[in-house]
């Protein structure tokens, strides 16, 4: 059992890495405009198609991936400038409608350009097991490393650079930020650009696992939301930890919940066969995580309660 257990934990970390990336991009935009971007997954999917297209045109992934990420950054920046800046004072519902519209647009546009058949994306990290390990494949190890590296990079950016500090100030207190000369509107657009870039990384990492098709990010975004809510929407580190946790929880629950419940019934003398039912309802578990966290600890595991003196 312990071999299987370790395997599930490691596999959970690997998929958790993807959720962590999605959670991170969700948090980036939430920080900037205090809305959850429902189109985040479709934007990531579109970015992945761009990467795939570049490679289909013969570009090596070393060039194709950074190019796709850079284009996504520009796309995210422009999306804020063209669509969201004009409606920044509009009510929440207007935002939600626009998010859903974007979702539909990116989804059908991808289907229109690249059709709905699945496409194979090769892993940049190669196939096979990671350094002879039976627990983890090269691609899984690569996903985890890429996510952690990106997190460290973002942490350094927000902690040690002037632009990073300006972005945090703009998110924390836009009016005061303006009064010290921070260009808040630019910071918001930058946040969108970065979120789109991070989403592109997530899409590129997951594509070799789930195959590329226009609906590939649908459930992954839900897991990303779950991770972000679990870790705390106000804390990028929390989002990443939340993403990893959701990955592990999902895997363990899918593997063991049947067994746990069957044993529990066996304990009271009942024979129950669940036939691996819980492997089928993994997504439900993600949604359950969201609800439980919102009820018990709405600010998330690492979310900050704002201290204010008035």
């Amino acid at each position: 059992m312990s071999e299987l257990f370790m395997q599930q934990v490691v596999a959970g970390f690997a998929t958790g890495a993807i959720y962590a990336c999605m959670a991170l991009s969700v948090v980036m935009i939430y920080q900037a405009i205090h809305h959850l971007n429902f189109a985040q997954g479709e934007m990531a999917m579109f970015s992945t198609y761009i990467a795939w297209q570049c490679m289909a045109w013969g570009l090596h992934w070393v060039l194709a991936f950074p190019l796709a990420i850079a284009l996504s950054f520009v796309g995210g920046f422009l999306t804020e400038r063209i669509i969201f800046k004009p409606i920044q004072r509009a009510p929440v519902l207007s935002h939600i409608v626009v998010f859903i519209a974007l979702f539909a647009i990116f989804n059908s546009l991808a289907g229109f350009i690249w059709d709905f058949t699945i496409k194979n994306v090769a892993s940049p990290f190669g196939d096979g097991s990671f350094m002879g390990s039976t627990l983890i494949g090269k691609h899984q190890a690569g996903m985890i490393c890429a996510t952690i590296l990106m997190l460290i990079g973002l942490w350094a950016f927000f902690s040690f650079t002037r632009v990073g500090l300006a972005m945090r100030a703009a998110a924390a207190n836009p009016e005061s930020a303006r009064l010290v000369g921070v260009r808040v509107a630019t910071m918001t657009a930058l946040g969108w650009g970065m979120a789109a870039g991070i989403g592109a990384v997530a899409g590129i990492l997951i594509a070799p696992v789930v195959f590329l098709e226009p609906n590939m990010m649908l459930s992954i975004l839900l897991y990303g939301f779950a991770g972000a809510v679990l870790g705390g929407l106000t804390n990028p580190l929390g989002a990443v930890i939340g993403g990893f946790l959701v990955g592990v929880i999902e895997n363990l629950a899918g593997t063991y919940l049947d067994w746990v419940i069957e044993s529990a019934f066996a304990g009271i003398g009942l024979v129950v066969h669940l036939h691996g039912m819980f492997a089928e309802i993994k997504l439900t578990i993600a949604l359950l995580v969201i609800i439980v966290v919102l009820v018990i600890k709405p600010e998330g595991l690492l979310g900050r309660k704002i201290v204010q003196r008035v």
């Binding site: 500090l165 945090r168 924390a172 009064l179 010290v180 000369g181 201290v307 003196r309």
Partner: protein
């Protein structure tokens, strides 16, 4: 002395509601001007109008430059440090990060900025003790010191102060006003002060203007205003 700030016929409105009905006043180079008036007279709106945070018309000249049509961020870059109502602390960031933000509109010269942060720590030792603390956890007085220190990080030509006494104990208020008086004397920073506490404000200021429902009803040197019978009765309470 010439005027660093010359406001002429300034009007401002929130939506359809006119708050300022054409007010004119000046702040002299190195001087302190105070705007007095009751709650809702338009004092805070005046400061917000100068910084481009409300819809405004009229003319605002800073050192002869017309800033009436500029965006807030650009007005700050010309050297106007505005300490807003409620102090504008970045509560979730640390004290030191708050100070760094004060220098955001300056050229990115790390050495100079670090030097200025050390200077503010010398001037406000309490802030040094709390440099890595979340600024929202500072006491009201400490946050007001932080707001002043943050404003100074800009190396401002003009400071706009919105009720620095707000919510502070009398002893702390005295301390804050002493700090402002020293600052004005030592660095020659010009100040425009909005204050409910009229006696303290008149003590610090060289010139005073009295605002009532969006219009200036009286102006003059601070001493003259302080000696005026009607002002005494209405604002000084003796």
């Amino acid at each position: 002395m010439s005027a660093i700030l010359k406001v002429d016929n300034l009007e401002a409105s929130y939506g359809a509601i006119n708050v300022l009905r054409g007010i004119s006043f000046e702040v002299e180079h190195g001087g302190v001007t105070t705007l007095l008036g009751a709650n809702g007279a338009g004092k805070t709106t005046t400061l917000r109008a100068i910084c481009g945070m409300v819809k405004r018309s009229g003319s605002i000249l800073l050192d002869g430059d017309d800033i009436t049509r500029r965006a807030t961020e650009d007005i700050v870059r010309t050297g106007v440090a505005h300490i807003p109502e409620g102090r504008g602390t970045f509560t979730t960031l640390t004290t030191e990060e708050n100070l760094h933000l004060g220098a955001m509109a300056r050229p990115n010269n790390k050495g100079e900025i670090e030097e200025d942060i050390q200077k503010s720590f010398e001037f406000f030792p309490r802030l040094k003790e709390r440099r890595n603390q979340q600024a929202g956890t500072l006491s009201g007085g400490e946050q007001q010191m932080l707001a002043i220190a943050r404003a100074l990080m800009l190396r401002p030509k003009l400071m706009l102060l919105d009720e620095p006494s707000f919510g502070l104990a009398p002893l702390i208020v005295r301390q804050i006003f002493d700090i402002l008086a020293n600052l004005n004397r030592d660095t020659g920073t010009s100040m425009l002060l909005v204050e409910q506490n009229a006696s303290l404000a008149l003590e610090l200021a060289d010139n005073a203007y009295l605002i009532e429902t969006g219009s200036i009803v009286m102006s003059g040197e601070a001493d003259t205003i302080a000696a005026d019978e009607s002002v005494r009765a209405a604002y000084l309470g003796y």
